[in-house]
């Protein structure tokens, strides 16, 4: 269980606690301020700002202090955590006012206008107010579920984004080429840029056998799987796994599964 689940999950994962989706969450002035800032600045400006900030952790002498400050402050602002397909679909049951927006990461990193960012809660009203001419598609719950399922099939991992923990506002569906959160985490080792999920991939060594070109490896955005040619099977680098679970759906033998992060001693507390 991560620290956010302990504080806000009421025995469950923080994004699966129905109370955290309540309209009353918007009564928190700091949360309103965060949402207005991110929406008002423009998401691309916010990404530019945060990516400049996370670079500061590489400065000599003050870098460690900067990293500690960012990791402490980020949960009170805007960030995300990787979630499995099952958790993504379940959390949609507690959300409302679904809208599909173009992914800002894809727009400002890849010059693409892909409608893959599944937002809910207050985002619809904010988008209508702040960017009335921007692209937006309103969705039913069933259509929202289909977006998540289609993204999973395409090989896009899911991330639940919060506007001041523990208020979920979006399921982002992306990959390593474009995801600016992941880039910030990898380049600068800032955990709060994107937290790992509650699970870790597990490989059944008996079932994993002699794929010529393992699809699971190409679907892993995190570089956690490697093919051991001599042994004829896939090897997992658990420390790199973010627990998205995309590898599972590609395995024709069902050799891959997700295990609770807490169940693996070496992975406990590695968010």
């Amino acid at each position: 269980m991560c620290e956010f689940c302990a504080k806000h999950g009421q025995g469950n994962r923080w994004y699966l606690n129905p109370d955290n989706f309540s309209d009353q969450m918007m009564e928190d002035p700091q949360r309103r301020k965060t949402l207005e800032k991110v929406g008002g600045w423009g998401i691309e400006y916010y990404i530019d700002f945060t990516s400049r900030m996370t670079q500061l952790v590489n400065l000599p002498v003050i870098g460690k202090a900067v990293k500690a400050i960012i990791n402490r402050m980020a949960p009170n602002e805007h960030g995300g955590q990787v979630v499995s397909l099952e958790d993504s679909l379940q959390l949609l049951e507690y959300a409302k006012d679904f809208v599909l927006l173009p992914c800002e990461c894809r727009r400002i990193v890849g010059n693409r206008e892909d409608l893959v960012c599944l937002n809910f809660g207050p985002v619809k009203e904010m988008q209508q107010r702040l960017l009335p001419e921007g692209r937006m598609e309103e969705l039913s719950l069933q259509e929202a579920r289909q977006v998540v399922l289609s993204s999973d099939e395409r090989g896009h991992f899911h991330q639940v984004l919060y506007a001041k923990m523990p208020f979920p506002v979006c399921i982002c569906n992306c990959d390593a080429r474009y995801c600016t959160s992941l880039k910030q985490r990898w380049a600068n080792n800032v955990e709060a840029a994107i937290f790992k999920g509650h699970e870790v991939c597990a490989v059944d060594a008996e079932l994993c056998r002699f794929c010529e070109e393992p699809l699971c490896i190409s679907r892993c955005s995190f570089g956690a799987l490697h093919y051991e040619r001599d042994a004829g099977r896939v090897h997992l680098h658990a420390g790199r796994c973010f627990g998205c679970g995309l590898c599972r759906t590609a395995c024709p033998r069902g050799a891959l599964s997700l295990a609770a992060r807490d169940s693996l001693p070496a992975m406990v507390g590695t968010w």
Partner: protein
């Protein structure tokens, strides 16, 4: 990772259609809005290109051939040598 320095001159990103971003397989380039608060004020975004994620550059040189303004320079951190346009595209 972090093997190359990537420098981008102050190019006209709107004019070329941000071709370097489309070409880069690693997503090294970030389109940075020139004006803050453009969303709040409804103004059109104007971008400049920054090599914000140069850490991920693998030196493939795809961006060099895509850039029509000769605005990108890639240098190896180890050898100090500049990377040129890939031979297949020169």
């Amino acid at each position: 990772m972090n093997e190359y320095k990537v420098r981008v001159a102050d190019c006209d990103a709107e004019a070329c259609g941000r071709r370097c971003q489309e070409a880069c397989p690693q997503g090294v380039f970030l389109a940075v809005p020139r004006e803050k608060n453009h969303a709040r004020h409804g103004a059109d975004p104007h971008y400049r290109i920054a090599a914000r994620f140069a850490y991920f550059c693998d030196g493939c040189g795809e961006c060099l051939s895509a850039c029509g303004q000769d605005a990108i320079r890639i240098t190896s951190r180890r050898s100090g040598e500049s990377i040129g346009i890939p031979a297949t595209q020169a």
